[in-house]
Amino acid sequence: MSDLESRLSRLAVPANARPPVLPTADVAYALHDTPIGTLLLAVAGGRVVASSFGDEETLTTRLARAISPRVLRQPGALDDVRRQLDEYLDGRRHSFDLQVDLTLASPFQRLVLSDLPLHTSYGHTTTYGQLAGEIHKPKAARAVGTALGANPLCVVLPCHRVIGANGNLTGYAGGLEAKRFLLNLESKS
């Protein structure tokens, strides 16, 4: 590259430059810091589609494929969800008043997850086997566990209330420490 060519390429981005501001996205998301870790929260068409511990790139790519590629980081669209989560994590809220959409879940995961708030209750735990029985899949305790592990709506759909028959916490997308935190929180509040 000649001297002239490199002079042409040297134009810098000024310090006051800002990214664009766009209308509300088909999928709006925010990264929300909580005592149990950073949650990626997303809404589409007024419904919560994600509340997840996964990484931003993987999750937004899944959302782009499943819903629409117009996915934007727009925390303002998540104000209500964030407020309710904060209240819950403070022990001031026992249930969520949110519309949810399990579009990121498979049909079996949907069967397991959609009625979780009915099959569990605040401050109480149930077991994988019990839950499998309640959704009329008594032999599917292991598959139920896997479906809960894939919950795209962590905390909002309380998969943390389901534990092993022997009392082991077993597993949680946000780590066992997070699961313990949520169960302690619910038993105290």
């Binding site: 000649s2 042409l8 134009l11 766009l22 999928v27 937004t60 934007l72």
Partner: protein, 171 residues
């Protein structure tokens, strides 16, 4: 023999989340917009380019060359603004007036950018897309609706003029 439906899935365009385009390319878009339209108008051009890209994005047929696609939209927005601002003149051979372009004094290397501003319009676009936009001649050609050979010629003519004006020589 029954064929798997996997074939259909692989043919779908899998566009990345729009936020990834912004995070990766917003600086390049604003750099090009400012180089083509100046500091003040450049910000508007960049904003309008993103709005257009956002509106058109879901219908995009290919996820390849998204950066080049964004820079092409940016160049078109700058040209639209340029045309809208250009004083109407009945004379076809009126000298090119740089109504837009960098506010040369605010930029590093003001002599260079003043000279770029005075280039014929297509040369100015080509040389800016090539060096500020960092596009190859295929990318420049796509943005200017022309051939790579024509892009090469536009850029080479622009560089010759700039060297003459600035008194620099190819080494």
């Amino acid at each position: 023999m029954v064929r798997s439906t996997g074939v259909m899935v692989s043919e779908q365009v899998q566009l990345p989340p729009f936020q990834a385009l912004i995070d990766e390319h917003w600086r390049d878009v604003i750099r090009l917009a400012r180089a083509l339209a100046g500091a003040v108008d450049g910000d508007d051009v960049a904003q309008r380019a993103w709005e257009k890209a956002f509106a058109a994005y879901p219908a995009l047929k290919s996820a390849r060359n998204l950066r080049s696609w964004l820079l092409t939209i940016t160049a078109r927005c700058a040209t639209d603004l340029h045309r809208a601002r250009k004083p109407q003149t009945p004379l076809d051979d009126a000298p090119p007036i740089a109504v837009t372009g960098p506010d040369a004094d605010d930029w590093p290397d003001p002599d260079l950018w003043r000279a770029v501003n005075e280039l014929p319009e297509r040369q100015r676009l080509a040389v800016t897309l090539k060096y500020v936009g960092d596009l190859d001649h295929h990318g420049v050609a796509a943005a200017l609706d022309t051939t790579p050979a024509a892009s090469r010629r536009l850029v080479s003519d622009a560089l010759t003029t700039l060297r003459d004006k600035l008194g620099v020589h190819h080494v």
